[in-house]
Symmetry: C2
Subunit: 331 residues, 2 copies
């Protein structure tokens, strides 16, 4: 049935929906709602296309009380860089929670996903990192390395940051860029163990299939957020790290068991089960403790959830409308 | 990354992509490709929202050799009629099979789904119904009752059609409309057993949760296509019908086991398993026989597959481009 649909391009979204405290707060609220048990969030639809080195994922979540719910399609075509294109693309659709009609189509090429993913890292840092973080360490040099550092800086304004990557040139380049962008001292590190030693908050942002962070490097007061793994074959953290954490947190336990760091820790027996593992939303909601002591080692395993998509899409439509951005079509 | 995306509205799609032999042939080819074993088609993502009497489904399928693949979101909000809105809506996205970038967004409110669903019924009729069909019987009076009759008439041009529904007024109205539209003798039937007795091809199009077609009504030479069930609690056919069929065909066995008529037949023990059950594509491909004898009773269980969506979306983009329809946006 013909009705009005708001169409918004990536360029407009970049202008109107920056990675800021609004985005972080809205994702934080999404996790709180997830903890309430009222959110309906089916498992991720995942289509692996190994013959063309690609994967397609879809996520959704219905949150009672919100006007709409997002349906997000993400594509990862890993031969794209050879064509001069980014690997990750996709779009997000906001559907009316009252009628199921399409309210908005965000032709964002994955931009809103980038924002809500980084925002989740900031939520984890807000509730789990030590209050005083002088150095943030980032493993990885991709887009999320950049965005996670920016987001973390908004909730833990550090004086220093360190960036390590397999490609030291990329690490140098990103450090230089972030140095200017954040106005703090950002350096590339050639030694991830040294990076971890100097940092109170470490964020892993790699597509690693073997751990990039060893349990030998853990120290008192460290918080680690691992956000790189979102597939069954990815793994960034030495599984012993998860058993040594004083507090171990997942965005969604049932999803991290399959797609996150939790998977390998369970498979290798480093964790006997998920008893004692917390979900981020329960900490946000105050029904579980995040960091209890300054000396605690805390770990957060993020795989990305549909409720974040619904939250950011809802925020985006509000901002787009207030900015009179986007195009209204009747379709 | 900014690139060109074709946007097409429901009104444009209705003009450019009618339910015709092109649509039927393209869906037929999709089933043939599915039978080749090269199609990647993950299970349906299904989100039930019982509190608001709604459901959301997503389907996709990657077909090697095609330029794109569809990602389809369907919404069923069953309180909509009280608001003067159709229950079923949604949209279809065509993504590049080379880059994963969005090639086209079909703001179709479910129209392309309607077409590809009816087209599958015609494919089943083409390969399974007797060559000579003088009467087509339809159980149900909704949109698919209308479209299935139109589609079936294109491959089995009958002189008569009968329509039965729980609401006899709706059946009368649809019969009158179809009488004019098809230019054949279409009558409402008040007795589904009589309808079946008079028909060589019967199509069930209801959302029934208890059978509307009894095994006692079967007769030699009958073909039945059951397309109404697409959820775990739906059931149109007396499960004994499936055990009595000479040839039993599914669009996708693994899906019909969960969402189609096959589910109840297996649960009730009317079928001991799926041995001997065929998939429609294998018949289209010629690697299995459809109807072998005029007297055979044949049954086809359709639940709707992602490969049909990819096929119709690909057809639609070609037709839209040739008609210079749609709007190109850079996003």
């Amino acid at each position: 049935m013909a009705h009005e649909i708001k169409l918004v391009t990536e360029a407009e979204l970049r202008r109107v929906v920056p990675l800021d405290l609004d985005a972080i707060d809205c994702v934080e609220q999404a996790f709180e709602k997830l903890a309430s048990g009222q959110v309906v969030m089916p498992p991720v639809l995942s289509m692996a296309l190994p013959d063309i080195n690609a994967e397609v994922d879809a996520k959704t979540a219905y949150v009672p009380g919100l006007d709409g719910f997002a349906f997000k399609v993400s594509t990862g075509f890993f031969n794209n860089p050879a064509l001069g294109l980014p690997s990750l693309n996709g779009l997000m659709v906001l559907l009316s929670a009252k009628t199921g009609l399409v309210d908005a189509v965000f032709l964002d090429n994955g931009y809103l996903t980038d924002v809500r993913t980084a925002a989740a890292g900031a939520v984890a840092a807000r509730h789990l990192a030590p209050v005083n973080v002088s150095t943030i360490g980032v493993l990885g040099t991709g887009l999320q390395a950049r965005l996670q550092l920016i987001a973390a800086s908004k909730v833990r304004p550090a004086q220093n940051a360190l960036i390590w990557g397999r490609d030291s040139e990329k690490a140098e380049r990103l450090a230089k860029e972030m140095n200017t962008f954040l106005g703090i001292d950002v350096k590339a590190s050639s030694d991830p163990s040294d990076l971890v030693a100097q940092s109170q908050l470490v964020i892993t942002t790699t597509p690693a299939r073997e751990p990039v962070l060893s349990a030998d490097w853990l120290h008192k007061g460290l918080h680690i957020t691992a956000m790189g793994s979102d597939q069954e074959d990815k793994n960034e953290l030495d599984p012993a790290i998860l058993s040594r954490a004083d507090t171990l947190v997942c965005d969604r336990i049932s999803q991290c068991e399959k797609l996150g760091e939790l998977r390998r820790a369970l498979e290798t027996g480093h964790l006997p089960g998920t008893k004692g593992v917390l979900e981020l939303g329960t900490i946000v909601a105050g029904s579980a403790n995040g960091r209890r002591n300054d000396d605690d080692i805390t770990v957060c395993d993020l795989t990305g959830t549909g409720v974040q998509d619904t939250a950011i899409a809802t925020l985006a439509l509000g901002k787009v409308n207030r900015a009179h951005a986007g195009t209204t079509v009747t379709a």
